[in-house]
Symmetry: none
Subunit: 193 residues, 4 copies
DNA sequence: AATGAATGAGGGTTCATTCAT
DNA sequence: GATGAATGAACCCTCATTCAT
């Protein structure tokens, strides 16, 4: 009973992810989702309040996953250098191994970013806090953590975007060393000119 | 005659930009666009083949504008340092002064990036060629221009995104110095450890 | 469930027949059809892929009905004279008792004749085979079955057309004797001068 | 001046005939007609009151042409046998040499038959009067001229239809002898059994 | 819990027609 | 006389959602 319900929900979840990424949220009909999931049209509404609810839960889930992965990477590292290395690598792996989830977050952020909380479930907040901590601890020279985290994120995010649009060969992780070096440079070598 | 047609077309163009950014392309109806432009619904189809055609032409126009602005900034600078400075500043100004155009390109890139040519009308190509030239001329140490241009772009792009989502205070240009320094670092100080 | 769906489909079918004959297919809107059938506009599309699909299925149905009626009339007769009599009478009855169906086939044949198969579901083929058989069996003098069936059909078809346009008084069947005599003459008395 | 106007009108007339036959009246837009005629959209309304007016004038013209051709054939013949021969042949020639005009009359009769007058401009009336005269003069045995003319017309009309739908090989005139014989039989040999 | 027929508002688009130039 | 930009009603169709089964 319970098990079957969960199975249906997961089917809807996974199928929706695929279709949303493939065609866009608006261009994907609930009919397509339910057919691809092998259930009746009405069944979607036993698991989600609306199509938007499904799309939002999907975003929340995968966006939160990214945040918690980064958070875990941070917690498992003992110094700041290691934090940079492990979070960058973790980020690359997320893109490489769960490209659908990543793409979905990217393309739907315009719709949902307004709804996410500014807490540890938000990858942007996680990165911000990593850098804030580093400044506080003196691991890196002082600076505006917002600007710094934006730039650091961009160093990995933009190649990730290119990778998803096939502008970059190979896995993203295969380029991780470059990202780590760059992030390290912009965080630690400022003002040395 | 000619003049009137151009006026109508521009009204549709500008109104569509505003609405598309505000609500998304799919969520904006042709009725809304034409009403806001002060013309009949059918008029849209005397200027564009379809709503998608309008959206695409809008993208093409503004995306091309970004490319040509960057290209101009590059051409007007005499050495590589200056190129970095002027292109970064130019980029910031585009975001600050034409935020709608910029936002529109960001949110619709998933729909249209597949259609843009890989030429000088593509900002990504412009940045790539800037870096490729710098490597060729020995201005910066050798490296994969794709990765380097992705990272350099990310350093400005991600803050721009944050700025548009109000995660960053002040104009983007007010932070330009940080971006210039960061881009300079990752391009010139690699491998020095 | 099943029953309800069938009821709805039949309502759409019958209402469409009436409206299509009355105003023409193009001049009949889906709104009119569904309103007259007492269902919502979208419901039409749960039963037919498109308005054209509805129009075509309608044609296929009634055109096939004519063919099978003629075929039955032929099979139930024991000699050729009887075949002529019963098919002509059957044809007249179809026009008299199902004038809508007949009219619909007439006015929409320009759209759909290209799609019908050349088999026993096609009245023209049925008549052709009746005459072909008669020639083969020696019931009538040899001749081009295409020309003969065209003329025989015309002898009944044109009066039917006149009848539907009120150029002819009384039921078509009341004139059946004349058609039978004429068909018999052109099929059997050729070449006697 | 005058000449140019006539030229434009003829272009519209001929182009409309072609398009109407090809795609149907409703499915042909005024835009298509004017573009194919090489004039501006508005120009159509300097020559015709509306699209329907154009379609009707087109029907009136070609339908009247058929009538006057048949009438001429009748007038040029000296006895009834010759009348049958020349009208049938004339009919065949019309179909063979002006198939577009003929097709157009066939497919649009459902729309326009209600508007035609019952006079010498109507082919049906011409045929009816030919047969009525023959009865009056004793050329053929008495009978209902409506039924007789319907059957006689059908004998040529149905093969003509088949010819236009490619169900018949060769020109229609090449089969004229069969039609003449058949018409002659049904008109003169009735009641001989 | 699941079904799927029905809903009806709203979508993008077409079209015959008008009128200022 | 001819133009063609503008019109706006009407078109066919899709869609997220509901509810009786």
């Amino acid at each position: 009973m319970q098990e079957r319900k969960i199975k249906t929900r997961n089917a809807l979840f996974n199928v929706a992810l695929e279709l949303f990424v493939d065609k866009g949220i608006d261009a994907t009909s609930t009919k397509e989702i339910t057919r691809a999931a092998g259930v009746a049209e009405g069944t979607l509404y036993r698991h989600f309040n609306s199509k938007d609810d499904l799309a939002w839960k999907l975003f929340e889930h995968h966006y939160g996953n990214i945040a918690s992965s980064l958070l875990k990477a941070k917690r498992q590292s003992s110094d700041f250098r290691e934090t940079v290395e492990s979070t960058v690598v973790e980020f690359c792996r997320l893109v490489d191994y769960a490209p659908l989830a990543f793409r979905y977050c990217m393309l739907s952020q315009h719709d949902f970013l307004g709804r996410v909380a500014d807490d540890d479930g938000n990858p942007v907040v996680v990165i911000h806090s990593i850098i804030q901590d580093a400044i506080r601890k003196g691991d890196i020279p002082p600076g505006d953590p917002k600007i710094l985290s934006a730039m650091a994120l961009g160093i990995v995010m933009q190649p990730a975007t290119f990778s998803l649009y096939n502008r970059l060969e190979g896995s993203l992780e295969s380029h991780a060393d470059h990202f780590i070096e760059a992030v390290w440079l912009i965080l630690t070598k400022r003002g040395e000119s």
